[in-house]
C-alpha cells in the first residue's frame, strides 16, 4: 500500500498549560483516498493538521510525504511538498475576482514582471472546467455564494498542483445542496488520485464521503477504521469515550419550582442563511435547578448564550422572565432586570483586561456605587477587597485584571455575577481552560446558587460537566432541541446516549418539559 502521508509518533505539547494537544499520534493517508479526521472539540484534530501544513512544529515524531522523510517548517514548505489546506474561514480578497484570488502569490507574468491577467483567467478557467466547478472566474469574490467561495479556495490549491488536500470542517458553513456539490467535487478529486483529509465531527458526512475514518480523543488517536466497517453509533462512542462517573450532590428540585426564564418558540434567523440558528426553541429554566445545555459547536449553544445575554435579537418567539416578557429588550435592560451572566469569552466579553480588578467588579453594579453621578472610590475598593477575599482570588483591587491567571480572572467574573444575581444566572463554558481545583470551585458555587433557589443555566460543551452537575439536560442539534432529559433520565444518562443526540443520530419523539 502506498501512502501519501505517514505521520509517526507526533507529539505536540503546549508548554503554557502543559497540555498534550497531540500525544504520540500515528496517522496515515493513502494515495487517492478520502480520510475523515473526527473528534470532539479540543481532541487535537486541528493541531495535527496544522503540524502537517507547517503552521505548528511537533515536539516529537516524524513525517513522511510520498515515502520521503520531510521537515515541514511553514505552509510554503507544505505547498512545495504538494500539501494544501482549505481553512474553515475563507482567506479571500472580496474585491478581487476569482481568478485574481486563485493566482495570488503565483501570478503568471508578462515580460518578466507585468501581471498577466488574461493568462491568469485562462489558467483558472481551465481548473474550473477540469473539475466541473460552477464559478465564473471573472466574478468578484464578494458576489459569490458561500459554496462558490469554498470552490475558489479549493481552486487555489488545485492551481498550485497539490496532491494532498486538507479541509478544515468544510461543510460547517454550507447548505445541504452545497455540501452535496462539494462531495461530488471531492470524490472526483480522489478519483484523479488526490489524497484528501477532512476534519469533521458530523457522522452522516463521515459515512457519506470517507473511505477511512481516524478518530481522535484528548490528543490521542483512538484508531483508524474503514468507514464501511463501523456504524455511526460506534464512531460516536469512539469519539466520546466511556462515561466518566463523576457525580455531584443533587438536591430534590422540589415541586414548587417555578419557571424563572421561559423561552417560547424562539427562533433566530440570519440573513442569507436558510437554516435557522435557533429553531423554535421552547424551554423553561426553573428556580432551584441547574439546567444544562449540551451540543456540539455550531449547533446553537453560542446563539442561545447570545440571546440570553441580549446580544442577538430573536426573529420570532417570546422570552419571559418571571412571566414578564423580556424579548429583545437589550443587554442594558436585561441587566436592570437581574441578568447575571458568566460569558464563555472571558477576555473579550467578560472583562476589560486593561482596567483594574475593582473596576471590572462593578461594571454591572456601577449605579450602586454612585451618588448624583459621582462614584465612591473608597466603597469600590472596599467592595473589591471584600470579594477578592470571599472568592479567594489571588490579586489586589488595583491590579489590571489582565495580569491575573485565567482561573483568577474567572473567579473575579464569577464573584461579580454571583453578587449581582437576583433569581437566575447564565454560565457558559464556566470551567473551560480551568484546572480541576478551580472547576470544582465553580461547581460548588453553582450548587450553592441552586440551593439558594436560583435558576442556574449551564451551557457547556463538556459532557462530563453536564452529566455531573445538571439536574435537567437539554440537547441541541442544528439549532433545535432534540432531547430534554429530566430526573432519572438525566441522572442515568451516559455520554454515549447524549452523544447520539448531539450528533443527530437520535431524537426524542415527544420532547417533554
Amino acid at each position: 500500500m502506498e501512502y501519501a502521508v505517514e505521520m509517526h509518533g507526533i507529539t505536540r505539547i503546549y508548554p503554557e498549560n502543559n497540555l498534550r494537544a497531540n500525544d504520540a499520534v500515528d496517522l496515515t493517508l493513502r494515495k487517492g483516498e478520502i480520510l475523515c479526521l473526527a473528534g470532539e472539540n479540543g481532541a487535537g484534530k486541528t493541531t495535527l493538521m496544522k503540524i502537517l501544513y507547517g503552521l505548528e512544529r511537533p515536539d516529537e515524531g516524524d513525517i513522511r510525504v510520498m515515502g520521503k522523510p520531510v521537515v515541514i517548517g511553514s505552509p510554503l514548505d507544505a505547498n512545495r511538498l504538494g500539501i494544501g489546506m482549505v481553512h474553515q474561514h475563507f482567506m479571500l480578497v472580496d474585491d478581487f475576482t476569482v481568478a485574481q484570488n486563485v493566482v495570488m502569490g503565483v501570478e503568471p507574468t508578462l515580460y518578466g514582471g507585468l501581471y498577466n491577467i488574461n493568462e491568469a483567467e485562462k489558467k483558472v478557467a481551465k481548473v474550473v472546467s477540469d473539475h466541473h466547478f460552477s464559478v465564473d472566474v471573472k466574478k468578484k469574490v464578494k458576489s459569490l455564494t458561500v459554496g462558490q467561495k469554498q470552490q475558489a479556495e479549493i481552486m487555489k490549491m488545485l492551481y498550485r498542483d497539490v496532491d494532498i488536500l486538507i479541509l478544515d470542517e468544510p461543510t460547517a458553513v454550507l447548505t445541504e445542496q452545497e455540501t452535496e456539490a462539494l462531495f461530488v467535487t471531492l470524490r472526483e478529486l480522489a478519483r484523479l488520485g488526490k489524497s484528501l483529509i477532512l476534519i469533521t465531527h458530523k457522522l452522516n458526512e463521515i459515512k457519506a464521503i470517507s473511505h477511512r475514518v481516524a478518530i481522535m480523543r484528548q490528543g490521542k488517536l483512538i484508531g483508524t477504521y474503514n468507514t464501511a466497517e463501523v456504524d455511526e453509533l460506534e464512531i460516536s462512542r469512539l469519539m466520546m469515550g466511556q462515561s466518566v462517573t463523576l457525580h455531584v450532590d443533587r438536591v430534590d428540585t422540589g415541586l414548587d419550582a417555578k419557571p424563572v426564564i421561559r423561552f417560547e418558540n424562539v427562533s433566530v434567523l440570519r440573513r442569507g442563511q436558510q437554516r435557522p440558528l435557533l429553531d423554535k426553541v421552547t424551554f423553561s429554566a426553573n428556580s432551584g435547578e441547574i439546567l444544562g445545555f449540551a451540543g456540539v459547536g455550531g449547533n446553537g449553544l453560542g446563539v442561545l448564550e447570545a440571546v440570553l445575554g441580549g446580544f442577538v435579537p430573536v426573529t420570532s418567539g417570546k422570552i419571559y422572565h418571571n412571566e414578564v416578557e423580556t424579548t429583545n429588550c437589550g443587554t442594558a435592560n436585561l441587566r436592570n432586570d437581574g441578568l447575571a451572566y458568566v460569558p464563555a469569552d472571558r477576555i473579550e466579553v467578560g472583562s476589560a483586561v486593561a482596567a483594574s480588578v475593582a473596576e471590572n467588579l462593578i461594571v454591572d453594579a456601577r449605579s450602586s456605587f454612585t451618588r448624583h453621578g459621582v462614584m465612591n472610590r473608597k466603597k469600590i475598593e472596599a467592595h473589591a477587597q471584600k470579594l477578592l477575599e470571599k472568592y479567594s482570588v489571588k490579586g489586589t483591587p488595583g491590579m489590571s485584571i489582565g495580569t491575573l491567571s485565567g482561573g483568577n480572572i474567572q473567579k473575579v467574573i464569577l464573584a461579580r455575577e454571583i453578587e449581582q444575581y437576583k433569581d437566575y444566572i447564565v454560565l457558559s463554558e464556566p470551567t473551560w481552560g480551568l484546572d480541576i481545583a478551580s472547576s470544582q470551585y465553580v461547581y460548588e458555587r453553582m450548587a450553592e446558587l441552586r440551593g439558594a433557589g436560583a435558576a442556574v443555566i449551564l451551557i457547556s460543551s463538556n459532557l462530563d460537566e453536564i452529566l455531573a452537575v445538571a439536574d435537567r439536560i437539554i440537547i441541541f442539534y442544528r439549532g433545535a432541541i432534540v432531547a430534554m432529559l429530566a430526573g432519572n433520565e438525566a441522572l442515568g444518562a451516559s455520554k454515549e446516549e447524549l452523544g447520539a443526540y448531539m450528533l443527530g443520530l437520535k431524537r426524542q419523539e415527544a420532547i417533554h418539559d
Binding site: I347, A352, A355, R366, F369, G373, M375, G402, S405
Partner: protein, 352 residues
C-alpha cells in the same frame, strides 16, 4: 493561557512605553533642534542659546509661550477624552475655528447682557464644536461610518465655510484685516503677566484639565466612557449603553475644542481672524498623543509644544534661522507620535 501571558507582557511593555515613550519623543525632538541648528545656522551656538533659553529669558517671551499652550491644552483634552472612549476625533481644526467664530459673534450680539452674555457666548462656541464632533459620533452610531474620516471631512468643509463667513457677511469693514468685529472690551480676559499676552485664560485651561480628570475618573459617566473605550463588548455586556458612548465623547471632545477657540478669542485675539487657529487642532492631537491621553499630562505636553514654537520664533528674531525650524521640529514630533496613532488605530480595528 498563551494569550494571557502575552497580554501580561504586553501590558508591561505598554506601561514602559507610556512613560519612556513621551520622554524619548521630547529628547529626540530636542536633539533634532541641535542638529538642525548645526546644519542651518552659521552661528549655531547663538541660535541654540536663543532657541532654548529665549522662551524663558524674560516675562514677555515666557508669558507668550504659556499663552500659546492654552489652546493646545483644550485641544489635547478634547482628543484625550475621545481617545479614552475609543473614538478618534480628527476634526479639531474645524471645531476650534467654528467655535471661535460662534463665540465671537454671540459675544458681540450679547454685549448688553454683560458677564452672563460672555458666558453664554462661550457656551455657544463650545456647543458649536460639540455639535460637529457629535455629528460624527451620531453617524457612526447610525450607519457605522468611521468617525475618524467623517470628523476630518466635516472639519475641512467647516473651515472653508468659516473662512467665507469671516471674509463675507461678518467681516469688519473698518479694518484691512480679514476678521470679524472685536468682542466687547468687558468680555476680554485680564492680562496676568504684562507685557506678555498671557491672560487669565490659563486658569480656565487648568480648570478644564481638573474637570476632565474628575469627570473621567470620579463620575459614573466617565467610568462608562473609559470602559467602553477599553472593551466595548465588555461594556455592552455590563449593560452600558455603548451607542451613547459613540456620540457623547465626540460631543465633549468637539466642545472642548470649541471652548478652546472661544477662549483664544477672549484671551488673545479679540476678533475671529481668518486662519488664526490654523494648526491648533493638529497640534492638540500631537499634544494628546505625547500625553498618552492623560488629562494631567496634557499641560506639560502642551507647554513643550508651545516651547518649541516660541524657541523657534526667538531664534529667528535673534539669529540667522527661519521660523520653519519650528515646523520641522514639530513635524519630527508628529512623525514620532504617529507610530502611536497607528498603533491605537490598529487596536481599535481589532476590537471591532
Amino acid at each position: 493561557m498563551i494569550d494571557l501571558r502575552r497580554r501580561e507582557r504586553k501590558s508591561l511593555m505598554v506601561m514602559m512605553r507610556s512613560s519612556i515613550g513621551p520622554l524619548l519623543i521630547v529628547a529626540i525632538a530636542l536633539v533634532g533642534v541641535v542638529i538642525l541648528s548645526l546644519l542651518l545656522s552659521k552661528t549655531p551656538g547663538k541660535t541654540l542659546r536663543y532657541f532654548f533659553l529665549g522662551p524663558i529669558q524674560n516675562t514677555y517671551y515666557f508669558g507668550n509661550m504659556l499663552n500659546g499652550a492654552i489652546p493646545l491644552i483644550f485641544g489635547g483634552l478634547g482628543i484625550s477624552l475621545a481617545m479614552r472612549s475609543g473614538n478618534f476625533n480628527l476634526g479639531g481644526e474645524g471645531q476650534i475655528y467654528s467655535g471661535a467664530l460662534v463665540a465671537t459673534l454671540c459675544a458681540i450680539a450679547l454685549a448688553p447682557l454683560g458677564i452672563a452674555g460672555a458666558v453664554i457666548a462661550l457656551i455657544a462656541g463650545a456647543a458649536m464644536g460639540g455639535f460637529l464632533g457629535g455629528l460624527s459620533g451620531f453617524f457612526r452610531m447610525k450607519w457605522n461610518t468611521s468617525e475618524l474620516i467623517t470628523s476630518f471631512l466635516i472639519s475641512n468643509a467647516v473651515v472653508l465655510l468659516v473662512n467665507y463667513l469671516i471674509a463675507g457677511p461678518f467681516m469688519d469693514p473698518s479694518t484691512n484685516l480679514i476678521a470679524t468685529r472685536k468682542i466687547p472690551e468687558a468680555f476680554r480676559l485680564a492680562r496676568i503677566l504684562e507685557p506678555s499676552n498671557l491672560s487669565s485664560a490659563l486658569f480656565l485651561a487648568i480648570t478644564a484639565v481638573i474637570v476632565v480628570q474628575w469627570y473621567l475618573y470620579k463620575t459614573k459617566s466617565g467610568y462608562e466612557l473609559r470602559i467602553s473605550g477599553l472593551n466595548s463588548s465588555f461594556a455592552r455586556y455590563g449593560g452600558i449603553h455603548t451607542n451613547w458612548y459613540m456620540v457623547l465623547p465626540m460631543m465633549l471632545s468637539g466642545a472642548l475644542y470649541g471652548l478652546g477657540g472661544g477662549i483664544a478669542i477672549y484671551g488673545t485675539y479679540y476678533s475671529c481672524m481668518k486662519d488664526f487657529s490654523g494648526g491648533m487642532g493638529w497640534n492638540g492631537l500631537a499634544v494628546a498623543l505625547i500625553a498618552k491621553y492623560k488629562p494631567a499630562a496634557v499641560i506639560p505636553a502642551a507647554i513643550f509644544f508651545a516651547y518649541i514654537e516660541a524657541g523657534a520664533r526667538n531664534a529667528m528674531l535673534h539669529s540667522d534661522v527661519t521660523f520653519e525650524i519650528a515646523s520641522i521640529v514639530q513635524s519630527l514630533v508628529f512623525f514620532l507620535v504617529t507610530s502611536a496613532v497607528l498603533q491605537s488605530v490598529g487596536q481599535k480595528k481589532r476590537g471591532h
